[in-house]
Amino acid sequence: MRMGMVIDLHRCVGCHTCSVACKVANNVPKETWWNRVLTDGGEAIDTLGGEYPNASIKFFPVSCQHCENPACVKVCPVGATYKDPATGIVRQDYDKCIGCRMCMAACPYTGVRSFNWEEPQNYLDHNLGDADAPEHQKHVVEKCTFCYQRQARGEEPACMELCMARARFWGDLDDPESDVFKLVHSRESITLLPEKGTKPSVYYLV
């Protein structure tokens, strides 16, 4: 099994809803984003690049790519970042992480990993999101888990729950019956930084 995601870039309008859904469901600390919608356009987020009238903009929702050949897993000296054999999901064991940030240096996908540079700050006085989302810890590396806790309950990752533009698809990339398998095999798709040989489990339909 290799759980993966397919994102249709033509449908994506860059609304950031998946980012916020991720943040709340996982109680992601202040100023930390596991799932970001990047703007391929102007210098600032959500602005158009180029010069009028030949301006353009595209959006790339980017989080951990849950690579089949993850650069991060190999380099972690203590095995705190590891690949779940059952699902192919790249996970992070907060209790084990020594905070060396080797995985952050090794991951080619700039910014998908984050480090809690201080005591994780909640937005509110109480924890938000799933009751079983792991508690965040100071000085450890974290990232998108494909909402492992939800997956364990048979639910989809939070970002998948209701993409407004219906641009996101989720499932087992090894299962020929899954939406994701069919889309990857029927439509033109790209992965990010294929030259790095990491074989991401996140595909973008172009």
């Binding site: 380099v75 240096a105 990993r113 809690n116 540079w117």
Partner: protein
């Protein structure tokens, strides 16, 4: 081989060295106290960093390593020189560098401890280091490095101990030679493995090069040799030991060769990066005319100065050789900064996204503005803690001088 004491000065040695030793003793004690004080301040700052969080450093998610890992790289390099300088002659049975062997190894030990300390202060969870043993992941270059570093440290200590024992005849020359060969292999390994921590990362264009291993070895030789030269000259000036100028000159010639090889490697790397005019061109731009150009050009100038002083006989005076050595050390440090910051200076995904104070050091603008200058710059607490580590290195070195019989055997 500790017989290489300057014969010419042997006659007057006892009285003079005794008085120097006294003066040195007082100066040494002051040095130890200062080093200890700096170390203690460093530790206090480190505790502050741990309680208040690494958020106090300049490091952020997109530039997640900084001065500490630069320091680690640099001190691993520094540590090499002493050991290599000391062990090569023994290992190959050639003439050495005039009685500085033990001092040289002492610098190695001090630098290795400092290098390890730089890793420790960079860790978010230093209290979890036991995880390194309980759940070791042997595919991690960092794991390799940790193993090799410890082996290296132990071997250095053993080697020093063996030399001291050999002075009193307790260890045979042959045994010493075996230890020296092991130490030498280990020294080469430690630099290569440290290089691999970076060069096996396909994530960073600048780092991902097979050249990085040999290059690290050469850089280590450069700054190691330079450090031994400075230490030797200083100790000679302080009357701790006597050293014939010819050994300094000999080392200077080596230094000249090493720094030229280092520059050559750099040239090779820049050519390989830049020639296809692909992504690697960005690396060349970054170094030659981009945010790291100051570091790059300063390194080149200092390296050239070093080479010139080392190669022009008329310039090889003690003061100039010390200047050249210092230039070499600074040049290599600048090189380390370029490697570390340069790795983060070229993001693979530079698209505009949410920027928070935890994303990147200069977060208060756009991605483009965050990368327009140096993507990372240390904060004062980082300088303070790094200084503490350097203090620790000095402390160990000076304690070694004070407590161990490191002087050349009479």
């Amino acid at each position: 081989m500790t017989e290489n004491v300057a014969a010419a000065t042997a006659a007057s040695a006892p009285s003079r060295s005794a008085s120097y030793a006294r003066a040195g003793g007082k100066g040494l004690t002051i040095g130890i106290v200062i080093a200890a004080a700096v170390t203690v301040v460093g530790i206090a700052l480190w505790v502050m960093q741990l309680s208040g969080g690494l958020v106090q450093t300049g490091m952020r998610n997109l530039d997640s390593w900084g001065l500490y890992i630069t320091g680690f790289m640099f001190f691993v390099g520094l540590s090499a020189g002493g050991l290599i300088i000391s062990s090569v002659p023994k290992a190959f049975g050639v003439s050495g560098f005039g009685g500085i062997s033990k001092v040289a190894v002492m610098t190695s030990i001090a630098c290795t401890v400092a290098a390890i300390a730089f890793v420790v202060i960079d860790l978010g969870q230093p209290l979890r280091v036991w995880e390194l043993f309980s759940s070791s992941n042997f595919s991690s270059p960092l794991m390799w490095d940790i193993i090799v570093l410890f082996v290296y440290l132990i071997l250095s200590v053993v080697y020093l101990w063996a030399q001291i024992r050999a002075d009193s005849g307790a260890v045979s020359t042959k045994a010493l030679r075996v230890v020296s060969v092991m130490a030498l292999v280990c020294a080469v390994m430690v630099h290569s493995v440290t290089a691999w921590v970076f060069s096996l990362q396909i994530a960073h264009e600048f780092w991902y090069t097979a050249l990085l291993g040999p290059w690290f070895v050469v850089s280590a030789l450069v700054c190691g040799t330079a450090l031994v030269m400075i230490a030797a000259a200083a100790l000679r000036a302080a009357g701790y030991l006597q050293l014939d100028e010819k050994y300094l000159v000999k080392m200077a010639k080596l230094l000249g060769v090493f720094i030229c090889v280092d520059l050559y490697f750099f040239g090779c790397d820049l050519l390989t990066s830049g020639f296809p005019a692909g992504e690697g061109a960005a690396v060349v731009d970054m170094l030659v005319s981009g945010p790291l150009s100051t570091f790059f050009w300063a390194q080149i100038v200092l390296s050239v100065v070093t080479a010139v002083v080392c190669f022009v006989p008329g310039l090889r005076t003690t003061p100039l050789l010390i200047v050249a050595s210092a230039c070499a050390i600074v040049a290599i440090f600048l090189k380390r900064v370029q490697i570390l910051v340069g790795g983060f200076q070229l993001p693979n995904l530079d698209l505009a996204g949410p920027l928070t104070s935890l994303t990147i050091t200069n977060w208060n603008g756009t991605m483009a503005s965050a990368y327009s200058g140096m993507v990372y710059f240390p904060t004062s607490i980082e300088f303070g803690i790094a200084l503490g580590v350097i203090g620790l290195g000095f402390l160990i070195f000076l304690l070694g001088l004070k407590l161990l019989p490191l002087k050349p055997a009479e």
